[in-house]
């Protein structure tokens, strides 16, 4: 039976050496996954050519960078990173789980 209902928090996976990445749904046009940060972990600023992306903070709090902006985002906040706009996680301020989505999927 396909997994149409997913409980993202049940899939969170952390690691000591770098933030955890989890695939949740791999569609033809859209990818969904988790990024899981221990306090102090980061994601370097990067950008995606031709692909829009978002982060939805499911739990915790992090300092984010998008374009020329830096801001804190916490549970319930949506962070929008349009194609070509540099974005990253400056620092997780708590243990933080983010749903991420990207279209088209990475590598497609």
């Amino acid at each position: 039976m396909p997994d149409y209902r997913i409980r993202p928090m049940d899939h969170a996976k952390f690691a000591a050496d770098r933030f955890g990445k989890v695939d949740l749904a791999n569609g033809a046009t859209l990818f969904l996954g988790l990024n899981c940060f221990e306090p102090g972990q980061t994601q370097r600023v990067h950008s995606h050519r031709g692909a829009d992306k978002f982060y939805l903070i499911l739990s915790g709090k992090a300092r984010m960078a998008v374009g020329r902006e830096e801001f804190e985002a916490s549970a319930g906040d949506l962070v929008w990173a349009p194609a070509e706009v540099p974005h990253g996680v400056v620092e997780a301020l708590e243990r933080t789980v983010m749903l991420i989505g990207m279209a088209p999927p990475p590598g497609s």
Copy 2:
């Protein structure tokens, strides 16, 4: 200044006659918005050709249909509706706000 940080719940919009729809981000490859249901409101089962879609329940609880499955989804649950797979909201069981995403965006 572009709105890279969005607080979805601040944008929720309800209506008595049908569920509320809100645009949050309109990218070239990805659309994000809200669907806002009063208890008892529905979204008829439909499908999107060539477009993957998800619902992320931000608050409330609803009975959802995807493919041949029917299930309840509540705050924190992710509902995945791959391209061509029929999906809809059988009934909102509480006042319910869902973040929705679709790639490519509707009408593109």
